[in-house]
C-alpha cells in the first residue's frame, strides 16, 4: 500500500563538538551557536532512513517537516538529498519560543496542512535537549495512536507492523494508519548518505516556509506565554575529576598497573 509519510526533523548544533567548545547563551538559556556545524538530530536521521526504506518497499511519498529558524532549510535540503520527495519549514518567532507542547501543536498544524498522512515519524529522543516528548504529544494533537522506540516498520495488508525496543527485548506492535512512531536506531536503519545528483536536485526544489498565520494554530498554544515549564537556569556543572592516566612502557605494563590501582582503590 502506498504510504504518505511525514518525517519531523530538528536541526541542532552538532552534539559531538569537543566539550571545551561547548558554550552557553545564558540570556536565551540555550547553547551558543558560534559557527559550529548544524546537523539533523541523529535519531531524526534514522527516522528519515526508515521512511525512505518504507517508500522503497511500499511506494508512496516522504515529506520532511522542520520547525526551526529560517536557516533550517539547509536541514531540509539534506533530507531531500537523502531522498525525501518534499519538504516544508515552519518558521516563526512564536514557534521558536515554544516548549515541547507548543512545538507539537505547531508541527501538527503543519502536518494537517500537508494533507492526509498515513505515518508520522520523528526520532525517539532529540539530540540537544534529550527530550522524548514531541512524538507522543503529536499523537495527542492529531488524535491518533503512537508507537515509541520503533526500530523497524513494515507495511502489511492495510496495517503497519512496528518492531519496538523495550528493556526486556523487542515487541511487535500492529497499528492501522494513520499513526505516529518515534524511531530508535538499529543495524537496519543507518542513515544513507545523499547522492550527489539528489543533492543537486534538492537545491532546485522549492521549500515552502510557513509562519504561524499560514497554518491553523491556536494562538494561545504557541509563543512564550504558552510555555508550561520555565527554564529557571541552564548551567555547565563544574567537573572536579581529572583522569589519572596509567603510565607504562608497554600496553601490558599499563594493564598490570591498572589492575593494581583498581585493587588499591578496592574496585576489584
Amino acid at each position: 500500500m502506498a504510504l504518505n509519510i511525514v518525517v519531523c526533523v530538528k536541526q541542532i548544533i552538532d552534539p559531538e563538538i569537543p566539550a571545551s567548545q561547548f558554550k552557553l547563551d545564558k540570556a536565551n538559556k540555550r547553547q551558543l551557536r558560534e559557527g559550529h556545524n548544524l546537523v539533523i538530530s541523529a535519531y531524526d536521521q534514522n527516522a528519515l532512513e526508515v521512511a525512505l526504506q518504507l517508500k522503497e518497499k511500499a511506494g508512496g511519498k516522504v515529506t520532511a517537516l522542520c520547525l526551526g529558524e529560517a536557516g533550517a532549510t539547509s536541514a531540509l535540503k539534506s533530507a531531500l538529498g537523502m531522498g525525501a520527495d518534499e519538504a516544508a519549514l515552519l518558521s516563526d518567532p512564536a514557534f521558536l519560543a515554544c516548549d515541547q507542547f507548543g512545538v507539537a501543536h505547531a508541527l501538527a498544524a503543519g502536518i494537517k496542512k500537508l494533507g492526509a498522512v498515513d505515518l508520522v515519524l520523528c526520532g525517539c529522543v532529540s539530540g540537544d535537549w534529550g527530550d522524548l516528548m514531541v512524538g507522543p504529544l503529536l499523537a495527542e494533537e492529531l488524535g491518533i495512536g503512537c508507537v515509541t522506540f520503533a526500530s523497524r516498520i513494515e507495511a502489511t495488508d492495510g496495517a503497519l507492523l512496528f518492531r519496538r525496543v523495550v528493556e526486556t527485548g523487542v515487541e511487535r506492535i500492529e497499528a492501522k494508519p494513520p499513526v505516529v512512531a518515534t524511531v530508535i536506531s538499529d543495524e537496519t536503519n543507518t542513515p544513507r548518505y545523499p547522492k550527489l545528483r539528489d543533492i543537486m536536485a534538492a537545491g532546485k526544489k522549492p521549500i515552502p516556509v510557513w509562519k504561524a498565520a499560514d497554518v491553523q494554530v491556536d494562538a494561545a498554544r504557541v509563543g512564550a506565554a504558552a510555555r508550561r515549564v520555565e527554564v529557571d537556569d541552564l548551567y555547565v556543572p563544574v567537573r572536579e575529576s581529572t583522569c589519572e592516566l596509567i603510565d607504562g612502557e608497554t600496553a601490558e605494563e599499563k594493564a598490570d598497573r591498572l589492575a593494581l590501582r583498581l585493587r588499591e582503590l578496592k574496585l576489584i
Partner: protein, 329 residues
C-alpha cells in the same frame, strides 16, 4: 487532597528497583512540599502491590485491576490513569523514565492540560511557594537545566538509576482504594502482537556492580570475547555502545546509553568507546569510570577517573590475567 501521585504498573508484592526509585524521589519531594503522597498501581492484580507501596511511603494507594492492563497499551493505560487522577487530583505525577513512562507521560500531561519534565535527575520543592523544581541533563549531559513547572498537574519522569530508592518502614499504615474503571479495548489504537525477551545469562546489566563495555574501537563481535571473560572474573556484566549494537556486533539489549540501558555500577570500564554524548547519558552515574582507548583525545577521558591510552587487544588480555590473579587469592 491534591498532592504527589506515583504511578506504577505491573508491580507485585515485591516492588522493582524502578518503583523503589520513584518512591524514593516522591518521598523526598513529599518532605519538602508537605503535600499528600499517593500511589496508583495498574495491572491485572494491582492490589498485590498495595502493602509494599504503603510500606515504602504511600499514604494512599489506588489500585486499578483489569485484564486489559496486563500489558502496556497506551490508550487503555491513559484511560485508567485519567480516572485515577480524577480521583486523586494530584499536583505532581511521578513515573519512572522506563519505556512505559516515556511513552505514556507526555500524553497524560497533554490530556490533563498539565506540564511535563522528562528524565529528571533531581527533584525539589518549596512548600511556601508551592513550587516544584526539576533538574535534568541537556546537551548530552554537558549542561544541567533547572526547570519550574507553571502548569499543573506537573508530570515528571525520573531518570533511572539516579534517585535513591525508598526504604521500607516497619508498621507504616495507609489506605488502599480499589478504583472501578470501565476500560474499552476498542479505544486501543495499537495492538501488541508478541514480544521476544532478549535473554541474557548471568548478571543483569542494569543491576551489575561492575560493567565492562565495548564500543566502536573493538572493530567487531570477536573483540567482545575478552570483555566477557573479564566481566566473568569481576562478577559483572558486559555492555556496549550504540555504535557496537547498531553494527550488529552484539545484541541491542546490551546497549548502554540514553536510549539503551542506564547503569550506575561501582565500576564502569569503557573499552574502545569514544564517549559520545548519548552513551555518557547512560553511564555517568557510575561511581568509578575507567577508559581504555587508543585516542588520548577521546571525550571519555574527560569523564573517567582512570585511563589507559592503548590498544585493547594488548591491554585487555593482560588486564584479565592480572585481575584473575588478584581476585583469586
Amino acid at each position: 487532597m491534591p498532592g504527589i501521585l506515583v504511578v506504577v504498573a505491573g508491580e507485585g508484592e515485591r516492588l522493582t528497583r524502578n518503583a523503589l526509585e520513584v518512591l524514593g524521589g516522591a518521598g523526598r519531594l513529599h518532605q519538602k512540599l508537605g503535600e499528600g503522597l499517593a500511589a496508583v498501581a495498574l495491572g491485572e492484580k494491582a492490589e498485590a502491590a498495595a502493602p509494599a507501596l504503603i510500606a515504602h511511603g504511600a499514604e494512599t494507594v489506588y489500585t486499578v485491576s483489569h485484564t486489559l492492563l496486563k500489558d502496556y497499551q497506551a490508550e487503555v493505560y491513559l484511560a485508567a490513569l485519567e480516572a485515577a487522577c480524577a480521583k486523586a487530583e494530584p499536583r505532581v505525577i511521578l513515573l519512572a523514565a522506563d519505556s512505559m513512562g516515556r511513552d505514556v507521560a507526555p500524553r497524560l500531561a497533554h490530556r490533563l492540560r498539565g506540564s511535563m519534565v522528562s528524565e529528571c535527575i533531581e527533584l525539589d520543592g518549596d512548600a511556601g511557594a508551592k513550587s516544584v523544581r526539576a533538574i535534568r541533563q541537556s546537551y548530552g549531559g554537558k549542561a544541567l537545566a533547572a526547570l519550574a513547572p507553571k502548569a499543573f498537574p506537573a508530570v515528571v519522569t525520573l531518570k533511572l538509576r539516579t534517585m535513591e530508592p525508598a526504604a521500607p518502614t516497619e508498621g507504616r499504615t495507609g489506605r488502599t482504594e480499589a478504583l472501578s474503571v470501565t476500560l474499552d479495548a476498542g479505544k486501543a489504537r495499537t495492538r501488541l502482537v508478541d514480544r521476544q525477551a532478549e535473554g541474557s545469562t548471568g548478571v543483569k546489566l542494569e543491576d551489575a556492580r561492575v560493567v565492562i563495555s565495548g564500543g566502536r574501537g573493538l572493530k567487531g563481535a570477536e573483540g567482545f570475547k575478552v570483555l566477557e571473560e573479564l566481566a566473568q572474573v569481576l562478577k559483572g556484566a558486559v555492555g556496549a555502545s550504540r555504535a557496537a549494537t547498531d553494527a550488529g556486533w552484539v545484541s541491542a539489549s546490551m546497549q548502554v546509553g540514553q536510549t539503551g540501558k542506564t547503569v550506575a555500577p561501582d565500576l564502569y570500564v569503557a573499552v574502545g568507546i569514544s564517549g559520545a554524548t548519548q552513551h555518557i547519558a547512560g553511564m555517568s552515574g557510575a561511581k568509578a569510570i575507567v577508559a581504555i582507548n587508543t585516542d588520548p583525545e577521546a571525550p571519555i577521558f574527560k569523564l573517567a577517573q582512570l585511563g589507559v591510552v592503548g590498544d585493547y587487544r594488548q591491554v585487555l588480555p593482560r588486564l584479565l590475567a592480572k585481575c584473575k590473579e588478584l581476585t583469586s587469592g
